[in-house]
């Protein structure tokens, strides 16, 4: 039997940045095909290509021998490709029946009315085939993540689904819910559906998958039979990048404790998080997406209220839940989502750069345009922002330049502690290196820096010390000298006991 899906030399570039290249793989009907790789390895790009959300820059996809019209969601749907995303793209206000059928509802009475009995029966059948019961009349937002996921899968298989793509389906499921999901997946497999299973949970993959494809740095590294593999094999395959390119260079001795976090808790996102960052030190924070790292950062920054615990700067406690107090004390946060949280995109580069220091630049209540221009020019130069002038709208800049803008905005405020959340996500290699250099320079100047990153080489290369978070708490701390990708991954991966590694 020929494979169901065949990709040939798929490639995607954004501008000059290559997100993915040379992907040639195949998936068989009734196969569970796992896809692994670090964050940013290109897994999402592949998913988006298959589902038609992004257009290909190169290559072809064929489904059951027929070429697929790429870059079109309806075409992918018609070909029987469905995706269950990590974040729900469903209708939170609507119930299970609606979510399964909206857009292609069974009808009666000449197409006027919903055929509720049929919907109900059909939904029941679909959900039961997944080992789930139908709960009618409850809005999706009232259901558990696992139930929502089952409904999403039910929607996917309510039409003739040939390939079901599951993107990190177990990220927020309990052990029992996971088992239910696996059972459902096995049923689908038995029914001949091909499954592309993306996960960080290596044990799951070993237990479920028939074959495993490994992605690294935008390339398809290899595809192997899962049989006979163990976790270490997988980790080795995922990590393979040259860590040395991020040489820390001159390491100054860290100074006094700047940022001190004690017992910080914001249930259910994270619990009892304690750590310190010293002046001149770069502390990396590794972990999987959803481990609670960004939430810790937002709470330190005062954007969220903690349930318990304290944050102090130079020994002085910060007022909880008060961004302005945190900023005044010298905390700066470069958020993960620079487009929506980091910048005001429709405003100009100059305006964005002075946003944090607006009042202090004012003279007699008025904005001093010359002082603002001076700050903007200085930061643009310091950050090497590539823009025609400070009057260019931030939206028009590339991702890397936008990120420099966010960092520049905070440096203008002369912070004591800089927290960077995924500072290089979606940024091309050149800009990436510039940002690394910058972070190192700033640390050398005495800034206490906390870098949150899912990019292992990045964390390893930049940090003096690495904290690893798993499921809302710190699972371990590694000194620079002892840190290896394998150790970090081992600490970050769930369902495993922490290795005996400590600071």
């Amino acid at each position: 039997m020929p494979p169901l899906i065949v990709t040939h030399e798929l490639g995607k570039t954004y501008g000059t940045v290559r997100a993915l290249g040379g992907v040639s793989m195949s998936i068989d009907a009734g196969e569970i095909h796992a896809l692994i790789g670090e964050n940013g390895a290109g897994k999402s790009t592949l998913i988006n290509m298959l589902s038609g959300v992004v257009a290909l820059s190169a290559g072809t996809i064929s489904v059951a021998g027929k070429p697929l019209l790429t870059g079109s969601v309806p075409a992918s749907e018609a070909a029987g490709i469905a995706v269950i995303h990590q974040e729900s793209t469903a209708f939170a206000h609507l119930d299970a029946l609606d979510n399964i059928f909206v857009g292609r509802e069974p009808r009666r009475c000449g197409g006027l009315l919903l055929d509720k009995p049929r919907m109900r029966a059909e939904a029941k059948r679909l959900l039961e085939s997944l080992g789930e019961t139908l709960q009618e009349g409850l809005a999706l937002s009232a259901l558990s993540v696992a139930q929502r996921q089952m409904i999403a899968i039910a929607r996917a298989i309510s039409v003739d689904c040939k390939l079901l793509i599951l993107d990190e389906p177990t990220a927020s499921l309990s052990q029992r819910e996971c088992q239910a999901l696996f059972a459902a997946i096995q049923r689908l497999k038995a029914a001949g559906v091909a499954i592309l299973y993306v996960s960080h949970r290596l044990e799951e993959i070993l237990a479920l998958a028939d074959r495993v494809s490994v992605f690294r740095d935008g390339t398809h590294v290899e595809t192997r039979d899962a049989k006979g593999l163990n976790k270490d094999d997988l980790i080795r395959a995922m990590v393979g990048r040259d860590v040395e390119e991020h040489d820390r260079g001159v390491v100054t001795a860290p100074g006094a404790v700047r940022l001190s976090v004690r017992g910080l808790t914001r249930a259910p996102r994270f619990r009892n998080v304690s750590f310190e960052v010293r002046a001149g030190e770069i502390v990396g924070m590794a972990g999987l997406v959803g481990a609670g790292r960004s939430e810790v950062a937002a709470t330190i920054f005062g954007a969220d209220f903690p349930d318990a615990g304290s944050v102090s700067l130079d020994g002085v406690p910060l007022r909880a839940g008060d961004v302005r107090a945190a900023i005044a004390a010298g905390v700066a946060l470069v958020p993960e989502d620079r487009q929506h949280v980091g910048l005001v995109l429709p405003m100009t580069v100059g305006e964005n750069l002075v946003l944090t220091v607006l009042s202090s630049l004012a003279r007699g209540g008025l904005r001093s345009l010359s002082a603002e221009a001076a700050v903007a020019t200085e930061q643009m130069k310091a950050m090497a922002v590539k823009a025609a002038s400070s009057a260019v709208v931030a939206k028009t800049l590339s991702g890397g330049n936008q990120q420099k803008l966010v960092i520049g905005k905070w440096l203008a405020a002369k912070p004591k502690v800089l927290i960077l959340d995924e500072p290089t996500r979606g940024i091309d290699v050149g800009a990436r290196a510039e940002i690394y250099r910058l972070i190192r320079r700033l640390a050398a100047e005495g800034l206490a820096t906390l870098v949150i990153s899912s990019d292992l080489p990045e964390v390893l290369g930049l940090s003096d010390r690495i904290l690893v978070m798993r499921k809302g708490s710190i699972s371990g701390e590694l000194a620079r000298a002892e840190a290896t990708p394998e150790k970090v991954l081992a600490l970050a991966m769930p369902q495993e006991k922490p290795q005996a590694v400590r600071a």
């Binding site: 954007a303 929506h340 405003m347 008025l366 904005r367 025609a388 260019v392």
Partner: protein
């Protein structure tokens, strides 16, 4: 803020970001030109000054409304705040207070109403449309309740000068408006407060993450609207020598129309005082000319309604072009 930098790849007219204002100005000039042909007496200075008398409250209220709409909010209650301020002014005066003291009380009452709106929007996070829809009824209701619907008049000439007097040929309300418009324009274009308003309108989350006092600024703009409504009430009372609970009825829609006509986006983030000035002027001139030439009040509604929709459609058309 459609600022765009000098970019050599783009022709000059793409960078020119005063298109909306230019169109409006041309529209007004066109109207005045046609008017001067059809009815020359309309375009004389004397007529224009005379006809301006009932423009000032609308013009004044359009200033803070511009700020509110730039923050992506809206205030439907300003007409009612005006009524409540006027009634407070009148009743304080009736109780024997100096009219200027009474006016201060009225303005304070207006500010208090604005603060209530602002706190409900900023702290309780209720949609401003809903908040002010409710206070639209409540504030006017309070005004009716405390005044029992009576008019209060008999203000001394020294006070009514505020509404009817002129200074160097310019009506005093016009001078007050001029000063305030200048202050608002400076505040919007040249103060941290102004830039923060744009930032909040575009992206409240990023504003908060940049350390801008989002809640405080939101309360401030609604409070400012209340204060200006109080001032407008004082001017109205002085001009018509009457304080009553029905003044400013329906004014909020006129004000919103003027601001939106002036190019402020109802979704927030963009808008300028200059545009608002032209918006006010466009509505005022259109109305007055229709009234002057035809003496048919009902035509005004049609003309203004069509003008509003046409202006927004036009702006859309042109927006696509620059993008």
């Amino acid at each position: 803020m459609k600022s765009s930098g000098p970019n050599t790849n783009e022709s000059w007219w793409r960078q020119y970001n005063y298109w909306h204002e230019t169109v409006l100005a041309m529209l007004i000039v066109g109207l005045l030109l046609s008017a001067s042909v059809l009815s020359p007496s309309f375009t004389t200075v004397k007529t224009q000054v005379g006809l301006s008398s009932d423009m000032w409250e609308l013009a004044l209220l359009a200033l803070p409304m511009t700020l509110i709409i730039i923050t992506a909010g809206i205030d439907l209650s300003i007409g009612s705040i005006m009524a409540l301020s006027a009634v407070v002014l009148g009743m304080t005066f009736e109780a024997g207070a100096n009219p200027w003291v009474a006016a201060m009380c009225g303005i304070m009452a207006g500010t208090a109403c604005g603060v209530f709106n602002g706190l409900t929007v900023a702290k309780l996070k209720v949609h401003p449309l809903i908040v002010t829809l409710a206070t639209l009824a409540a504030f006017r209701g309070i005004a009716e309740g405390i005044s029992l619907g009576r008019p209060i008049s008999g203000f001394p000439a020294s006070f009514t000068e505020l509404g009817t007097g002129t200074f160097g040929g310019v009506p005093i309300p016009g001078l007050i408006f001029g000063v305030l418009a200048l202050l608002f324009a400076i505040a919007l274009a040249r103060t941290p407060f102004g830039l923060s308003i744009y930032a909040i309108g575009h992206n409240p989350l990023a504003s908060r993450y940049s350390g801008l006092p989002v809640a405080r600024i939101t309360v401030a703009v609604y409070a400012l609207a209340g204060t200006v409504a109080g001032l407008a009430a004082a001017i109205y009372v002085a001009r018509r020598n009457t304080a009553k609970a029905d003044i400013g009825t329906g004014l909020e829609l006129d004000v919103i129309t003027a601001v939106v006509l002036g190019g402020t986006s109802i979704f927030g983030g963009s808008g300028r005082i200059l545009g608002t000035l032209l918006g006010v002027l466009a509505i005022h001139q259109t109305r007055k000319f229709v009234g002057w030439y035809w003496d048919r009040e009902e035509l005004n509604f049609i003309v203004v309604g069509v003008l509003l929709i046409a202006a927004v459609l036009l702006n859309r058309l042109f927006d696509k072009k620059t993008k």
